[in-house]
Protein backbone atom coordinates (compact mmCIF):
# COMPACT_ATOMS: atom_id res chain seq x y z
CA UNK A 1 0.00 0.00 0.00
CA UNK A 2 1.34 3.42 -0.98
CA UNK A 3 0.86 6.43 1.28
CA UNK A 4 1.62 9.99 0.17
CA UNK A 5 2.82 12.56 2.68
CA UNK A 6 4.30 16.05 2.47
CA UNK A 7 7.87 16.28 3.66
CA UNK A 8 9.01 19.01 6.03
CA UNK A 9 12.50 20.49 5.98
CA UNK A 10 14.33 21.69 9.07
CA UNK A 11 17.86 23.04 9.13
CA UNK A 12 20.22 23.11 12.11
CA UNK A 13 23.72 24.45 12.57
CA UNK A 14 26.24 22.97 15.01
CA UNK A 15 29.48 24.66 15.97
CA UNK A 16 32.44 23.38 17.92
CA UNK A 17 36.09 24.10 18.56
CA UNK A 18 38.70 22.31 16.47
CA UNK A 19 42.48 22.30 16.93
CA UNK A 20 42.82 22.29 13.11
CA UNK A 21 43.97 18.69 12.66
CA UNK A 22 41.57 16.22 14.19
CA UNK A 23 38.78 13.69 13.85
CA UNK A 24 35.63 14.12 15.94
CA UNK A 25 32.84 11.61 16.51
CA UNK A 26 29.67 13.61 15.83
CA UNK A 27 27.22 10.67 15.89
CA UNK A 28 25.70 11.40 19.31
CA UNK A 29 25.26 15.13 18.53
CA UNK A 30 23.40 14.31 15.31
CA UNK A 31 21.34 11.57 17.01
CA UNK A 32 20.36 14.02 19.74
CA UNK A 33 19.00 16.52 17.21
CA UNK A 34 17.10 13.74 15.40
CA UNK A 35 15.57 12.73 18.75
CA UNK A 36 14.84 16.26 20.02
CA UNK A 37 13.12 17.35 16.82
CA UNK A 38 10.92 14.25 16.67
CA UNK A 39 12.33 13.44 13.24
CA UNK A 40 10.70 10.13 12.35
CA UNK A 41 11.27 9.22 8.70
CA UNK A 42 13.37 10.79 5.99
CA UNK A 43 16.93 11.79 5.25
CA UNK A 44 19.47 13.63 7.37
CA UNK A 45 22.07 15.46 5.33
CA UNK A 46 25.15 16.49 7.31
CA UNK A 47 27.34 18.99 5.52
CA UNK A 48 30.30 21.22 6.22
CA UNK A 49 31.57 24.10 4.14
CA UNK A 50 34.63 24.62 6.32
CA UNK A 51 37.91 24.79 4.43
CA UNK A 52 39.86 21.52 4.54
CA UNK A 53 37.09 19.67 6.40
CA UNK A 54 35.07 16.58 5.54
CA UNK A 55 32.17 14.55 6.95
CA UNK A 56 32.45 10.77 6.60
CA UNK A 57 30.99 7.50 7.85
CA UNK A 58 33.44 5.19 9.60
CA UNK A 59 33.81 3.06 12.72
CA UNK A 60 35.28 5.39 15.35
CA UNK A 61 38.16 3.16 16.49
CA UNK A 62 41.56 4.77 17.23
CA UNK A 63 43.60 2.19 15.25
CA UNK A 64 41.24 2.46 12.28
CA UNK A 65 41.49 6.27 12.33
CA UNK A 66 45.28 5.89 12.30
CA UNK A 67 44.86 3.67 9.24
CA UNK A 68 42.70 6.31 7.59
CA UNK A 69 45.39 8.92 8.23
CA UNK A 70 48.00 6.53 6.79
CA UNK A 71 45.84 5.96 3.72
CA UNK A 72 45.32 9.71 3.18
CA UNK A 73 49.07 10.25 3.51
CA UNK A 74 49.66 7.57 0.88
CA UNK A 75 47.21 9.32 -1.43
CA UNK A 76 49.15 12.54 -0.87
CA UNK A 77 46.06 14.62 -0.19
CA UNK A 78 47.06 15.84 3.30
CA UNK A 79 50.04 17.90 2.14
CA UNK A 80 48.04 19.14 -0.85
CA UNK A 81 45.10 20.05 1.41
CA UNK A 82 42.74 18.13 -0.89
CA UNK A 83 41.40 15.46 1.46
CA UNK A 84 38.00 17.15 1.69
CA UNK A 85 37.68 16.66 -2.07
CA UNK A 86 38.55 12.96 -1.80
CA UNK A 87 36.43 12.23 1.29
CA UNK A 88 33.49 14.51 0.54
CA UNK A 89 31.91 17.28 2.56
CA UNK A 90 28.57 15.64 3.25
CA UNK A 91 26.85 12.39 4.12
CA UNK A 92 23.20 11.42 3.76
CA UNK A 93 21.74 9.20 6.44
CA UNK A 94 18.28 7.65 6.23
CA UNK A 95 16.22 8.04 9.38
CA UNK A 96 13.86 5.10 9.93
CA UNK A 97 11.33 5.17 12.79
CA UNK A 98 13.31 7.87 14.63
CA UNK A 99 16.71 6.18 14.38
CA UNK A 100 19.61 6.77 12.06
CA UNK A 101 20.17 3.83 9.68
CA UNK A 102 23.84 3.22 10.43
CA UNK A 103 24.25 -0.23 11.92
CA UNK A 104 26.16 -1.27 14.99
CA UNK A 105 29.64 -0.01 14.16
CA UNK A 106 29.22 2.87 11.74
CA UNK A 107 29.72 6.37 13.14
CA UNK A 108 29.64 9.85 11.70
CA UNK A 109 32.95 11.66 11.85
CA UNK A 110 34.01 15.25 11.21
CA UNK A 111 37.53 15.47 9.83
CA UNK A 112 39.55 18.67 9.96
CA UNK A 113 42.84 18.71 8.06
CA UNK A 114 42.90 22.48 7.53
CA UNK A 115 45.70 23.09 10.07
CA UNK A 116 43.64 26.10 11.15
CA UNK A 117 42.34 25.99 14.71
CA UNK A 118 39.06 27.65 15.56
CA UNK A 119 35.31 27.45 15.58
CA UNK A 120 34.00 25.05 12.92
CA UNK A 121 30.42 24.52 11.75
CA UNK A 122 28.24 21.70 10.49
CA UNK A 123 24.90 22.18 8.79
CA UNK A 124 22.27 19.50 9.19
CA UNK A 125 19.26 19.37 6.87
CA UNK A 126 16.43 17.09 7.95
CA UNK A 127 13.93 16.33 5.19
CA UNK A 128 11.02 14.07 5.99
CA UNK A 129 8.28 13.47 8.54
CA UNK A 130 8.41 14.90 12.07
CA UNK A 131 6.23 13.51 14.82
CA UNK A 132 5.13 17.03 15.73
CA UNK A 133 4.13 17.91 12.13
Amino acid sequence: MVTFVCLDVKIYRLTFESPGYTVLDITSHIAEIVHQTGFYKGTAIIYTNEEGCAVIEIEYAPDLLEDLELFLKKLGCIEENLCDVILGRSVVIPVVNGSMFLGRFKNLAFIDISRKAGNKALVMVLEGIFKSS
Binding site: V2, E57, I58, D67, V91, V92, V96, G103
Partner: protein
Amino acid sequence: MELHPITSILKETLHESDIKNGIVWISVEGATPALCLLRRGIEKRFLSYIARLIPFTGWNHGNAYAHLISTLVSTNKAIPIINGELLLNPDEEVYVLETRSVYNHVRKIAIEIHGN
Protein backbone atom coordinates in the same frame (compact mmCIF):
# COMPACT_ATOMS: atom_id res chain seq x y z
CA MET B 1 35.05 -9.15 -2.17
CA GLU B 2 31.74 -9.74 -3.85
CA LEU B 3 29.26 -7.59 -5.77
CA HIS B 4 25.53 -8.20 -5.36
CA PRO B 5 23.25 -6.59 -7.99
CA ILE B 6 20.20 -4.79 -6.54
CA THR B 7 18.88 -2.79 -9.51
CA SER B 8 15.87 -5.09 -10.01
CA ILE B 9 14.88 -4.65 -6.33
CA LEU B 10 15.11 -0.87 -6.69
CA LYS B 11 13.02 -0.90 -9.87
CA GLU B 12 10.34 -3.12 -8.30
CA THR B 13 10.16 -0.84 -5.25
CA LEU B 14 9.96 2.25 -7.43
CA HIS B 15 7.17 0.84 -9.61
CA GLU B 16 5.24 -0.16 -6.49
CA SER B 17 5.44 3.44 -5.23
CA ASP B 18 4.05 4.83 -8.52
CA ILE B 19 6.28 7.90 -8.14
CA LYS B 20 7.09 9.46 -11.49
CA ASN B 21 9.61 12.17 -10.72
CA GLY B 22 11.95 12.55 -7.79
CA ILE B 23 14.87 10.76 -6.24
CA VAL B 24 15.73 7.37 -4.77
CA TRP B 25 18.06 7.41 -1.78
CA ILE B 26 19.73 4.07 -1.08
CA SER B 27 21.77 3.26 1.99
CA VAL B 28 23.35 0.02 3.17
CA GLU B 29 23.65 -0.71 6.88
CA GLY B 30 27.04 -1.46 8.40
CA ALA B 31 30.60 -0.14 8.47
CA THR B 32 32.18 -2.44 5.86
CA PRO B 33 29.91 -2.72 2.80
CA ALA B 34 29.51 -0.11 0.06
CA LEU B 35 27.15 0.82 -2.75
CA CYS B 36 28.39 1.42 -6.28
CA LEU B 37 27.07 2.04 -9.76
CA LEU B 38 29.06 0.12 -12.35
CA ARG B 39 28.83 -0.63 -16.05
CA ARG B 40 28.27 -4.34 -16.54
CA GLY B 41 31.49 -5.99 -17.62
CA ILE B 42 33.91 -3.90 -15.56
CA GLU B 43 33.16 -5.59 -12.22
CA LYS B 44 36.37 -7.63 -12.05
CA ARG B 45 38.48 -4.64 -13.09
CA PHE B 46 36.83 -2.50 -10.41
CA LEU B 47 37.45 -5.11 -7.67
CA SER B 48 41.05 -5.51 -8.76
CA TYR B 49 41.56 -1.72 -8.75
CA ILE B 50 40.03 -1.32 -5.27
CA ALA B 51 42.23 -4.13 -3.91
CA ARG B 52 45.32 -2.36 -5.31
CA LEU B 53 44.24 1.05 -3.96
CA ILE B 54 43.37 -0.31 -0.49
CA PRO B 55 45.27 -3.59 0.06
CA PHE B 56 44.01 -6.25 2.48
CA THR B 57 47.12 -6.10 4.67
CA GLY B 58 49.44 -3.52 6.17
CA TRP B 59 47.01 -1.80 8.52
CA ASN B 60 46.66 -1.47 12.31
CA HIS B 61 42.96 -2.29 12.58
CA GLY B 62 42.07 -5.94 11.83
CA ASN B 63 39.77 -5.41 8.86
CA ALA B 64 40.78 -1.82 8.11
CA TYR B 65 40.75 -2.43 4.35
CA ALA B 66 37.01 -3.22 4.53
CA HIS B 67 36.23 -0.05 6.53
CA LEU B 68 38.36 2.18 4.31
CA ILE B 69 36.73 0.84 1.13
CA SER B 70 33.31 1.38 2.70
CA THR B 71 34.18 4.96 3.69
CA LEU B 72 35.78 5.84 0.36
CA VAL B 73 33.25 4.23 -1.99
CA SER B 74 30.33 5.24 0.33
CA THR B 75 27.34 3.44 1.75
CA ASN B 76 24.85 5.87 0.20
CA LYS B 77 23.77 6.61 -3.33
CA ALA B 78 21.12 8.86 -4.89
CA ILE B 79 19.51 8.15 -8.26
CA PRO B 80 17.03 10.54 -9.90
CA ILE B 81 13.63 9.28 -11.08
CA ILE B 82 12.37 10.66 -14.38
CA ASN B 83 9.07 9.55 -15.92
CA GLY B 84 8.81 6.69 -13.44
CA GLU B 85 12.22 5.20 -14.23
CA LEU B 86 15.61 5.30 -12.52
CA LEU B 87 18.05 7.51 -14.38
CA LEU B 88 20.58 4.75 -15.10
CA ASN B 89 22.26 3.89 -18.36
CA PRO B 90 21.00 0.61 -19.85
CA ASP B 91 24.33 -1.13 -19.18
CA GLU B 92 24.59 0.08 -15.55
CA GLU B 93 23.88 -1.89 -12.40
CA VAL B 94 23.63 -0.83 -8.75
CA TYR B 95 25.64 -3.17 -6.55
CA VAL B 96 26.13 -3.82 -2.87
CA LEU B 97 29.84 -4.43 -2.43
CA GLU B 98 30.57 -6.92 0.35
CA THR B 99 34.19 -6.29 1.23
CA ARG B 100 34.52 -9.21 3.64
CA SER B 101 33.68 -12.88 3.27
CA VAL B 102 30.40 -13.19 5.11
CA TYR B 103 28.14 -16.21 5.17
CA ASN B 104 24.52 -16.51 6.27
CA HIS B 105 24.54 -12.76 6.81
CA VAL B 106 21.49 -10.57 6.27
CA ARG B 107 22.41 -7.12 4.97
CA LYS B 108 19.75 -4.42 5.37
CA ILE B 109 19.29 -1.74 2.73
CA ALA B 110 17.14 1.36 3.24
CA ILE B 111 15.37 2.67 0.14
CA GLU B 112 13.74 6.09 0.38
CA ILE B 113 11.75 7.35 -2.58
CA HIS B 114 11.05 11.09 -2.55
CA GLY B 115 8.95 12.61 -5.31
CA ASN B 116 5.49 12.80 -6.80
